[in-house]
């Protein structure tokens, strides 16, 4: 059971060195939602402004399953 964590902008610094370009394959250890995964990875939960699971905006309590792609972003903007 793995999920693909994609951390962007300042959040990349929180991933292990092995996570190339902010992409990290994480083997689940019983975590059931994004919040639990974030806690396991010691990501700063309060900075997770955008949570995009398989291309769809979710929140921290969104359930996760094997093979999910989870994009995490701090508050950012542009145009």
């Amino acid at each position: 059971m793995t999920v693909e964590i994609r951390c962007h902008a300042t959040l990349r610094d929180y991933l292990p060195e092995s996570a190339k370009k902010g992409i990290y394959q994480y083997e689940l250890k019983g975590e059931k939602n994004v919040r639990e995964v974030a806690n396991s990875l010691e990501l700063p939960v309060e900075e997770l402004h955008l949570i995009i699971v398989n291309g769809v905006q979710k929140n921290l309590d969104a359930p996760i399953q094997d093979g999910d792609r989870i994009g995490l972003f701090p508050p950012v903007g542009g145009g």
């Binding site: 994609r6 962007h8 902008a9 300042t10 990349r12 370009k21 902010g22 992409i23 402004h49 955008l50 995009i52 398989n54 291309g55 769809v56 905006q57 792609r69 994009g71 972003f73 701090p74 508050p75 950012v76 903007g77 542009g78 145009g79």
Partner: protein, 577 residues
């Protein structure tokens, strides 16, 4: 304040008092009103009867944070409709300090030597040899040599001189680079049609903005600075990664138009992301954060150096990186930087030109991903104004039409920017209905659709999108009139004290008593003026539609189409006519 009117046919310059009805207008409100009042709708965009209006915003030239945006108005040769093209750089602050309400350029003379010199004594038309045909970098250097190193310079490059309808007007930034532009709508071609190569603005001994209540203004502007800086986007994120931070976000959300809008995801997106850009910039000693105009406190711009650590380009935006990157399947940051510099130097809108390259690839002129091919098209065709170069310089619609391409991403003749309208539906409504043609800045629904700023509206569903787009179009028109950078909107949408504080600044400066409702009314009034003028130019509701392929082709990964009915799109402007 004064309005200066220059006629290139008679070579006369007139100084006019500001009519009472124009006093409360600035920036876009003023440029659109002048075009509507003065230009016969029958005027050819590149003929002597079209006009080009430059106006700083109401707050430009003051200490108000990030208030140095310039509006340039005209009939667009690209869209055939009214146009306000908005630029950063140094010009608006200088105009403001010189108490210039507007500069109106009339007539047309194919000359290439005409330079308008603007300073504390007024506006003068001069003839300068040796400028014709120069790129914006070299033209700026020559003009600074002649008029002083600290002048603000607006120029057109070869694209404008050849009246290519994707041509921009370059505005020098605080480092004197022509990296800021009134890009959209081909107004560089209008300036070229008038035979005007440059406008030089010297603010030496400028009188400065007349302030009705200095203390009240200082207080309000300080408060507004705090509002901007306290917001995580405008206070921090924009300066960390620039606007290109959006590449990965739109890619995750499945809304990053890839391969001429064939997919919403690009497997090599990260090679062109803001994060990658900043890594390169830091390695080469560039600047990850840079202000395009004096008084900007958000610093979303940047300086991108070449491999040897020398300046290469600046203001390397999300839109530009996307247009030549994911849109053309090119994942080489240096190649994209080269195209950005070409656009700045030749004087082309980066969005229109990148979208056009995607269409050229669709047409088979070059292959998708052919980075050397794009370089060749810039160097050998567009810069030299060959027949193919002129065609590409005329934008996506003309190029698509000429080659029989059915998948041309444009509305009202203007190329669609970096958010797929099927997967970011709110901004799709803006593309379809804006008076400006496809323009993300005209009503940036990406805020609530993707960024969780100013609320949340599901980007994949239709619910709430027309209302969101309408409200943002109204608010944007008002902001574009103040001279404030549109990026203040991130804070404005999330902080209810922001609009009253902008109103406080305006009231303190002008000695008036506006309310926040008046600001909304101003936004509506601008849209009505633009909409009604477009009607006189021949636009109907049928022009507020998305190209067929967005309605028929499903966009991966979400497999969505642009599915608004005509009635839904028409509802946006139903009470703004």
């Amino acid at each position: 304040m004064k309005i200066y009117r220059v006629n290139l046919n008679t070579e006369e310059v007139k100084t006019e008092e500001v009519p009472e009805s124009y006093a409360p207008l600035g920036g876009r409100a003023l440029t659109s009103q002048v075009i509507s009042d003065e230009v016969d709708p029958g005027a050819h965009p590149l003929g002597e009867n079209n006009k080009l209006v430059f106006a700083p915003g109401l707050l430009s030239g003051t200490r108000a944070p990030s208030s140095g945006r310039l509006s340039v108005g005209s009939i667009s040769p690209l869209t055939g409709g009214i146009k306000e093209s908005n630029a950063g750089g140094t010009a608006a602050q200088y105009f403001g300090k010189l108490n210039i309400k507007a500069l109106i350029v009339e007539g047309a003379k194919d000359d290439g030597k005409n330079v308008l010199v603007v300073n504390k004594d007024g506006v003068k038309l001069e003839k300068v040899d040796g400028l014709k045909g120069l790129g914006n970098y070299e033209a700026g250097d020559k003009l600074r040599e002649k008029y002083g190193k600290n002048v603000s310079v607006m120029t057109i490059g070869p694209a404008g001189e050849h009246k290519m309808t994707a041509a921009s007007i370059a505005v020098s930034d605080i480092d004197k680079n022509p990296a800021r532009a009134a890009g959209r709508g081909g107004l560089g071609a209008v300036m070229g049609s008038k035979g005007l190569k440059a406008i030089v603005i010297d603010d030496t001994d400028a009188p400065g903005v007349v302030m009705h209540d200095e203390d009240a203004f200082k207080k309000a502007s300080k408060k507004f600075s705090k509002i901007i800086l306290d917001h995580p986007v405008s206070g921090e994120a924009l300066r960390n990664y620039g606007t290109a931070v959006l590449i990965n976000i739109l890619n995750e959300a499945g809304g990053l138009p890839t391969k001429n809008f064939e997919s919403g995801r690009y497997d090599k997106a990260d090679d062109t992301s803001g994060e990658t850009m900043v890594d390169i910039i830091k390695k080469r000693g560039g600047k990850a954060s840079h202000s395009c105009h004096p008084g900007c406190i958000m610093g979303c711009s940047q300086i991108y150096n070449d491999e040897d650590g020398n300046y290469f380009t600046a203001g390397f935006e999300y839109e530009t990186v996307w247009a030549f990157g994911a849109n053309c399947l090119i994942n080489d940051m240096d190649a994209i930087a080269y195209y950005d510099r070409c656009c700045d130097d030749i004087g082309l809108d980066t969005i229109e030109t990148g979208v056009t390259m995607g269409v050229a690839m669709e047409a088979g002129i070059i292959e998708f991903g052919d980075k050397d091919g794009v370089k060749r098209l810039f160097d050998e065709e567009i810069r030299k104004a060959t027949p193919l170069g002129r065609l590409l310089g005329s934008g996506s619609k003309v190029t698509g039409q000429t080659y029989g391409v059915t998948r041309v991403p444009e509305v009202k003749g203007q190329g669609i920017p970096a958010y797929d309208p099927r997967a970011v539906k709110g901004v799709g409504v803006t593309y379809a209905t804006s008076t400006q043609g496809a323009d993300h800045t005209a009503g940036y629904s990406v805020t609530a659709n993707i960024l969780k700023v100013g609320g949340e509206v599901d980007p994949l569903k239709k619910e709430g999108q027309t209302e969101l787009s309408k409200n943002l179009q109204v608010a944007t028109a008002a902001i574009d009139s103040t001279g404030l950078c549109l990026f203040v909107a991130f804070a404005v949408l999330d902080n209810e004290e922001a609009v009253p504080t902008i109103v406080d600044m305006l009231n303190a400066q002008y000695g008036i008593s506006l309310t926040p409702d008046d600001v909304t009314e101003l936004g509506k009034q601008i849209l009505k003026v633009e909409r009604n003028y477009n009607k006189k130019l021949g636009f109907t509701r049928e022009d507020d539609r998305m190209p067929e392929f967005f309605q028929k082709e499903k966009l991966p990964p979400h497999d969505v189409t642009f599915d608004f009915t005509d009635e839904e799109l028409d509802s946006v402007y139903q009470d703004l006519e």
